[in-house]
Structure formats: structure tokens, C-alpha cells
Symmetry: C2
Subunit: 113 residues, 2 copies
DNA sequence: CTTATACTTAGCGAGTTGGCTAATTTTAAA
DNA sequence: TTTAAAATTAGCCAACTCGCTAAGTATAAG
């Protein structure tokens, strides 16, 4: 195949989102970013965390790769913008599955495969 | 300190849940489990996945440690039960944060620290 | 031009993850 | 009692994660 299908891209995208949410520091960054109105410079974010600035940069990179934040450079400052819609759409979308009733009968009499 | 505080326990619990959700196979197990009514044997789960049975067992162990499934042994079969409430409470609870308005003014004139 | 500021990139190292096969355990069937 | 089935545990290994420090880049200030 020459290119991944749309469905494969979405699965890959979802995987990046959940992997991004797997670390407490990254979840924390998103919360702080939201609390501060959805926009902060890299320095303001780094200042608020115990880990070193390069470590924070790498966390931000993963959030960016997952599409959960975008960057906007201006002068020598680099701002990060929360992509709230994507967070709630992807993670919330997956989670919403579990509000739905089950697809099949829990215990069918003909329990084939 | 002799024991972790309640808040620390909850943070630790949330971390286990999000780490459990970080792998596509584990998310898939939860979805299949829900679709089949919330209860399946280890064998039925293992059959539906490409990876080996021991690998699936380990995924199930992580889901169990996160409190997302519980086990019920009966004879030589081991059933896994979906803990749907915990999944939606913990993951959904964190996500719900982002439906709330921001805590502080996005761009206060006195941009201190 | 030189220096400081704001960040990122490079690269190291300990620890974790996730795949596998082989071996073991437990219970049911013959 | 022997054999088969269901599942887990043990242990190996390559790959990834995430912390760090040091070095580099780009822009603004002096």
C-alpha cells in the first residue's frame, strides 16, 4: 500500500493522544495551560514544573505531536496553545463508547467463538 | 510520613488508569469487553488478539492494577469483568476539567510570574 | 559587535515496556 | 491415574521513556 487509510490515520492519532496523556507531567501541563486561558510561553510552563527545561520541552513536543497543543513563535518567545477541541474529541470520543449499551447479548445461548 | 494521603492515592490511581489506556491493545480489550457485555474469560480475550496469550495476560494484569477490570475465577476458567464506572469516573473526570472555564484571566495586565 | 535571554537539540544512562518462548500451576476430562 | 485444557509465571531481549547536563540556535538588548 502507498499510504495509510483514513481509519489507520485516526487510530494512529488516537494512540499518540493516549500516549501523550500517559505521563502526569503532560497531563499537568494541559491542565495548567487550560487554567491560564489556553496560551503560555515555554518559559512560563517550564518555570511551573520541577523538571529541567529541556525535559519540559520534550513533553511539549509529545503534546504537539499528538495535536494537543500548537506552537506560535514570536520574537524569541515560543507560545504553546491548547487544542482543547482535539483533546475532548479524541479522548472523550473514545470514552463515550462506554456510555453506549453493549453491541451483543452478554451471554447468548449459542456461545460460538 | 507513614502513609500516602487520600489525594496522593487518587493521583497514583489516575496515573495507573492513564498508563493502562496508553496501549492500543489494552484500549481494545476494554472495548471488546464492553461490547460483549462486560464479562469474558481470559481465553476468549486472548483468542481475539494477535499477540500471544502471555502477552495478553500481562495487559490484563495492568488493567487490573489500574482497577479497570476485576477477575473472577471459576474452575479452570478466569473471567475478567469490566469496571466501567471506574473508567468513566477517572478518565472522564479528568477530561471534564476542560469543559470548565479557565481559572484565571487569560492575559492579565499585571503578568507577574 | 558583544552579551544576555529564550528556547531547542544532542546525547547519556537507568529504568520500564511489550513482544516472545518455555516452564509451571491448577482444574477438568478420559 | 494419566492426559488435556486454561491460564499464569519466569525470564530473555530490543526498543522506548524520561530524567539529566552540555551545547547549539535565534532573537533582543546594550
Amino acid at each position: 500500500m502507498t499510504h495509510p487509510s483514513r481509519a489507520e490515520q485516526e487510530l494512529e492519532a488516537m494512540d499518540l493522544v493516549f500516549k501523550a496523556l500517559a505521563h502526569a507531567s503532560r497531563r499537568h501541563i494541559l491542565v495548567v495551560l487550560h487554567a491560564r486561558g489556553g496560551r503560555m510561553t515555554a518559559g512560563d510552563i517550564a518555570k511551573r514544573f520541577a523538571c529541567s527545561w529541556p525535559t519540559t520541552t520534550r513533553h511539549l513536543r509529545k503534546l504537539e505531536e499528538a495535536g494537543l497543543v500548537t506552537t506560535a513563535k514570536s520574537g524569541r518567545e515560543n507560545s504553546y496553545l491548547l487544542n482543547q477541541d482535539r483533546l475532548t474529541a479524541v479522548a472523550g470520543g473514545w470514552l463515550a463508547w462506554f456510555q453506549q449499551p453493549a453491541l451483543v447479548n452478554p451471554k447468548t445461548p449459542s456461545e460460538t467463538a
